[in-house]
Each structure stands twice: as C-alpha cells, then as structure tokens.
C-alpha cells in the first residue's frame, strides 16, 4: 500500500525484515487479535477494534524491535513501551504472558475480582507494564521523562509511546511534543495509531487533527507516515529509527490503520470501539481472522 513518505534520508533495504520474519510477526499479530477476542469473552465487554488497529504495531515492537529480556520485566536497559490509548491493553496482556512476565492463569483471570489485569494497564499491578494509563494524553509526557532519565543515567534504551489519533486532541500531548524536541530526546519515538475513529465518531468530524504529519514536523519531530498494517514497512522503519544514531530529534510515526482491522464489519462500523461478541459471533470473527492475510 502506501510507502514511507517524507523521510529525510534514504530508507535503504538494510532494515527490511525477511519473509520468514514477516510471517512470524504476522502470526503474532493474529495471536494478539485472537487473544483479544478470548479475553473480552471473560469480561463481556471490551475494545476489540482499538486493539485490532494496533495489532501489527504491538507485534513489530514486542517481537522484533524492542530490546527485552524474556522473564525479566524490570531489566533496567530494556526498551520502554507506553500507551496513551490504554484501553488497548487487552491486546498487550497476552504478549506479556507470552514473554513470561505474567502467568498464564493470571491472564485467564482478566478483569475478575482481584486480578491485576483490567481494561487499562497498571504498572503497580502488572509486571511488564512500564507506565500506567487510562487518562488520555499523559503518556508522551511520561515517556519524555523516561527518555530524559535514561539519557541522564547513560542508559541507551528507547522509549516507544503509542498514542491514539483522538488523543491528539489533548493539550498535554503538545506540551510533551515541545518538550521532547527542545530537549532533543532522540530516544523518544511516538507512534500515532491513526485509525480515524474515537467514541463519538470520526476523529476528523469530532475535532479534526489534520494535517497531522505537518503538525509533528512543525513541532520539530522527524515524522514518517506509514501503513500501520504493513509489517514489512512498519518494522523496517522502526528498526531504522532505533538504529539511527545521528538523529537529534524525537521521531513520530503516523501509522495509518483501520479501526477493527481483521474483522470486516468492525472496519466499517465505528461503534465497535466498545462492544461484545456473543460466542457464535466470536467464532465467526475468529474464523475470519484465521483465514485473512493482513
């Protein structure tokens, strides 16, 4: 689909994932979608479509790009991940279990009384969650603090912050954007999940945020627009941004995605921001996810 646009330097092919790597990442994205359906069946309500737009971003970050140690969620040099759109946590918890940060039986108790896993990620309760979220607009500030702190501690970790496109309406995001550029936080990488929808409708109908790439560039961030479901493009770009030692600014990826990607009727109906699939419908959704190549 769309190519990486407006890059300041040639992308080259050095960072391109192999066919086998892409196939593996695709399976992991499928795993995220399937687990999301399974976990939401426990809660009987959840944010399917917010996870589905971000499934490839989760997969590329956690299974390729981020420096992590399985079973060691507090390793000080790990790359950090924060999510402004904390309501997509149900897609992240299965990954944390997969990495050995949380036990499988804990995952299976999602949202039940006393379980650490709720609709939003909680760093006090869940190993592997680098920062809590739930109130939209805070995450980029927290990530900026981590990037500043890492630099001051002579640690080399990257800080990836996934933001919703509706989140662009929060003023604090732009405070953090100014701060990140001013202090040259080159280890800070924002990823905007530009799935186009928020609770009350299309983002551009609610309070428009375009031209989004121009805004981030104007705020001093190296900005890229990418197809957020194209694992080859997305992974190559993330690898390159992570490896780039010459950049003196933070970077922003605007990942163009489809809300609900993977389940056809969710892709056309924004009401699925929050919902529940009864078991027979969940089975049909699973069948579609299993049969579709994204």
């Amino acid at each position: 689909m769309s190519a990486i646009t407006a890059t300041q330097r040639p992308a080259g092919n050095d960072y391109a994932p192999s066919a086998a790597e892409i196939a593996r990442l695709r399976e992991k994205a499928r795993f995220v979608r399937l687990e999301t359906i399974r976990l939401i069946e426990i809660a009987k309500v959840g944010h399917y479509s917010s996870v589905f737009s971000a499934a490839e971003i989760f997969s590329a970050l956690y299974y390729d790009v981020m420096e992590l140690k399985a079973g060691e969620p507090t390793w000080p040099d790990r790359d950090r991940f924060l999510m402004g759109k904390g309501h997509a946590a149900v897609g992240l918890f299965p990954i944390l279990a997969d990495l050995g940060y949380i036990r499988k039986d804990v995952l299976d108790g999602y949202t039940r009384l006393g379980n650490p896993l709720g609709d939003h990620p909680d760093m006090r309760k869940v190993p592997g969650i680098d920062f809590s979220s739930g109130s939209i607009g805070h995450a980029l500030s927290a990530g900026a603090g981590m990037a500043w702190g890492g630099h001051a501690s002579h640690r080399d970790f990257n800080v990836f912050v996934m933001l919703g496109d509706g989140e662009m309406q929060e003023g604090q995001v732009w405070e953090a954007a100014l701060f990140g550029a001013h202090h040259k936080l080159s280890k800070l990488i924002a990823i905007v999940d530009r799935n186009g929808f928020q609770l009350d409708g299309a983002v551009d109908d609610v309070i428009g945020v375009e031209p989004l790439d121009a805004k981030w560039r104007a705020f001093g961030w190296e900005t890229h627009v990418v197809d957020g479901h194209n694992l080859a493009e997305l992974t190559a770009l993330l690898r390159r941004l992570k490896a780039d030692e010459t950049r003196t600014t933070p970077a922003c990826i605007i990942a163009k995605t489809l809300k609900g990607k993977g389940v056809s009727y969710m892709e056309t109906e924004p009401g699925w921001h929050l919902g529940y699939l009864a078991p027979e419908d969940a089975q049909r959704a699973v069948a579609e996810i299993m049969s579709r190549e994204i």
């Binding site: 109130s135 500030s141 927290a142 603090g145 500043w148 501690s153």
Partner: protein, 333 residues
C-alpha cells in the same frame, strides 16, 4: 546597589527588576540549598521548574548543576507527568511551580501518574495560600491541601518557614512516598533555627494549653505562636501545635490536645473546607471527642485583592488577627 550598568537604565536604587530582586531574597535559597545538600550526599536529585526558576530560587541549583536541572517551560502538566517518568528511571525529581497550578491544574497528573503509579516525586507548590496578594485568585492556592490530601499514597507537608522546608526536604530523602510540599514565598518570618530536625508525620508541640490549643500549619504558625505568647502573658493557657505534616496527620497529637484543652482552633492559609481544620475535625469525630473546634482560615470565599500583608491582616492571619480569633475561641469555653 551597584552603579547602574546602563546609563539610560533606571538610576534609582529603589527601582528593581524581577531576577535581581529574587536572586537577592535569601528566603528563596532554602529550596536550592536543601537540594544541593542532597546532591552532595549522593542522592540522585533532579530539579525541574515551569518558567518560575527565579520565583522558587531553583536558578541557584540550576547554575550549580545544569545537568540536573530541567526547564519545562509553561507546561505544568507535562512537567508533573514527566517527573513520574523520570522517577521510573531511578532519579529523585523535585518539580516546582505555583501551588495553585500544582494543586488544581495538575491534580489529575499528580493522582494518576505520581501517586497511583507510586513514583517518589517531590512536588514543590510555592507561593501558596494568598501570598501572591494582588496577583489575584488565579495565583492563590486555597484548595491545594484539600485536593492533595484526598489523593491516596501522597504525603502532604506544609512547612512554616525556610529552615523547616530545608529540614523536611532532608528528612524526605528516605521517605518512600511522593510528597507535596506546600510552601510560601520565601518572606515568612522564621519560626525555626536552621538545622532544627524534622520528622515527617510528627507534630511539633510548641506549648501546651489547658484552655485552648491552636493547631496550625504553614505561615500561620508564626502568628499563632505570637498570639499564644501574648495571651499566656495575660494569664490564659494557650498551646500551639505546628502540624506541618498534614498527611499522614499526627492523630495522637490532636487527641492529646483535645484531652488537655477545653477548645481547639485550627489555623491555615487555606479554605476552611477540606484543609487542616477538616483533617483535625475528622480525627475528633472519629474518636468521639466532644470538643468545640474553631476552624480559622479563608471562609469558603475568594480572597480580596491587596498586598499580602494587608490580606493577612484582613483575614486575621497575622498576629493581631490570630489573637482576636483566639480570644473569641476562649470566650466560647
């Protein structure tokens, strides 16, 4: 004053400008000096401010440790959340701005990102209460004790003066929780000698009163002591407790005072709703103490415009006013 640098600039020694005036205010040095001491002791201190480094005196710290100072600009919410991020990487961030901005504008960031995430950030809310005088309501903080003490896992300390602030900051080095420090504008008369030790959570009982005990925090401690001394010289029996740690409240000290005195009075530069007076009232109600309590402070209103000293007189938060309120309390015994 030195000879004017600019022949066309102000010639009078009575003219002044913000940076020079504030840099010459020793009351503003306590914050920087305390942080410099913590750095010297090896603590991983970082300091941040939101375009107010000459108001809180952090310019002194910044000059000595530029690598430990973070300028946030006029972005208080970003500063508070970023401080939480900094704390996750092992640093001990102190971030400062006007108390009105921390206690209200940044209330949610303090709750969600600092207290709920259990990040040991130190928040410095300066120029609290009505100390900004005719700058007006936007710059007054008369609700910050109420908001901050309602946030779980957050300690609230309201020092009476610079030396107590310095001692409290020193004591905070080993305190595991995040802390909201509520401080004045650096021109308060000193109650304590430099180096007086401070224990977080422990009230300081200055004098015991069989008739009345005044429980105060922050700037009103000094006038409360003056008023008590005057009344005691007349043969009355008035005690004073400095309740610098508003949370966790020293409940035992409240109960001791309730057991000894016939009436209690709280004094705070804050709305009487939700602040120290409310905290003391909660203890008295919890324990079934049938004692009268006079809550002195700002009575659920926005302060008038006036120079700070005029406001303190108007709201009876100076020594004369405090004495008047205490006399009225004694008359109710």
């Amino acid at each position: 004053m030195n000879a004017p640098l600019f022949p066309n600039g102000p010639q009078s020694a009575n003219s002044w400008q913000y940076r020079a005036l504030n840099s010459a205010n020793p009351g503003l040095n306590f914050l920087s000096d305390a942080l410099l001491e913590l750095v010297a002791e090896g603590h991983p201190v970082l300091a941040g401010s939101a375009d107010l480094q000459y108001s809180n005196g952090l310019n002194k710290f910044a000059a000595q440790h530029p690598e430990r100072y973070i300028q946030f600009g006029i972005s208080e919410q970003n500063m508070v959340t970023a401080a939480a991020g900094l704390a996750t990487t092992g640093h001990m961030p102190f971030v400062a701005t006007f108390a009105s901005f921390l206690g209200l504008l940044c209330c949610e960031q303090i709750r969600m990102d600092i207290a709920y995430c259990a990040q040991p950030v130190r928040l410095i809310g300066h120029h609290t209460g009505i100390s900004l005088g005719f700058y007006g309501t936007s710059h007054h903080a008369t609700e910050d004790i109420a908001t901050m003490r309602a946030i779980a896992d957050l300690t609230v300390i309201s020092p009476a003066d610079g030396p107590q602030l310095a001692a409290a900051i020193k004591a905070s080095a080993s305190w595991p929780e995040p802390i909201y420090f509520r401080i004045g504008r650096g021109r308060e008369p000193d109650v304590y000698a430099p180096g007086t030790p401070f224990v977080i959570g422990k009230a300081i009982e200055h004098m015991q009163g069989d008739e009345l005990t005044i429980i105060a925090c922050g700037l009103p401690v000094h006038p409360a002591l003056e008023a008590a001394r005057k009344l005691n010289a007349e043969g009355r029996s008035v005690g004073v407790i400095d309740m610098a740690t508003v949370k966790p409240l020293d409940r035992e000290a409240v109960l001791r005072a309730a057991g000894r005195s016939k009436i209690l009075m709280t004094a705070e530069e804050h709305n009487v709703l939700g602040g120290l007076g409310s905290a003391v009232a909660e203890v008295l109600a919890d324990e079934g103490c049938g004692i009268k309590l006079v809550r002195h402070g700002i009575h659920d209103e926005y302060s008038l415009i006036a120079p700070p000293t005029h406001l303190y007189a108007h709201y009876k938060l100076d020594a004369v006013g405090m004495e008047e309120v205490a006399r009225a309390a004694l008359a109710r015994i």
